[in-house]
């Protein structure tokens, strides 16, 4: 599906959700959730090509791919946390959104520990 079509769908959906909100229908929150999911769905589909390309580059260059996988996971966690916290914020659950963001940051920090350890090891091996 082309980007143009996705944007048209989102535009129509936002106008309809606005109308639903004014009519007092409880479905508008689900419609807004569906719209954000709709965009992310196709963004993830686009991202698949990028990921395959980067995997190919990493194999050609011959870098150690363990760190690349960690980087990939961190990117995924940040996308997921942003999406879920935005949905929570839209529904009015501000504190839940804040906690999700903090949890995502902590998880990213924990997952990036091996990279930090490798840097520290490199520095200590260079130093006399």
């Amino acid at each position: 599906m082309s980007f143009y079509k996705i944007m048209c769908g989102v535009m129509v959906g936002v106008l309809l959700a606005l109308q639903l909100k004014q009519m007092g229908s409880p479905v508008w929150i689900y419609l807004s959730f569906l719209l954000s999911m709709f965009v992310l769905f196709y963004a993830v589909g686009r991202l698949t090509f990028v990921m395959e390309f980067l995997d190919g580059v990493m194999e050609d260059v011959g870098l150690e791919s363990g760190y690349f996988e960690i980087l990939l996971k961190i990117v995924g966690i940040s996308y997921l946390c942003e999406f879920v916290s935005n949905v929570c914020r839209e529904s009015g659950f501000m504190s839940v959104a804040g906690q999700i963001e903090i949890g995502g940051k902590l998880t990213m920090m924990v997952m990036s520990m091996p990279i930090l350890l490798a840097i520290v090891n490199t520095i200590t091996s260079v130093l006399p």
Partner: protein, 64 residues
């Protein structure tokens, strides 16, 4: 995920809002509540497969 589902959910929402208004004016508040509840359940059953699909695709893409 097809674009039609946006229109489908919006149409259902409009129908629910209209039914709700009509039933409330007729003095049947409990039936209005049940209609709203049924609409929300129908929307959720349409939505949930796509939620699962999105999260599964993200899981397989990023290796989470």
């Amino acid at each position: 995920m097809p674009v039609e589902i946006i229109i489908k959910i919006a149409a259902l929402g409009i129908v629910i809002a209209l039914l709700n208004q009509v039933l409330k004016h007729a003095g049947r508040d409990d039936q209005a509540f049940f209609v709203t509840m049924a609409g929300i359940i129908v929307v959720l059953t349409w939505l949930l497969p796509y939620v699962v699909e999105l999260f599964q695709s993200m899981q397989s893409l990023f290796g989470l």
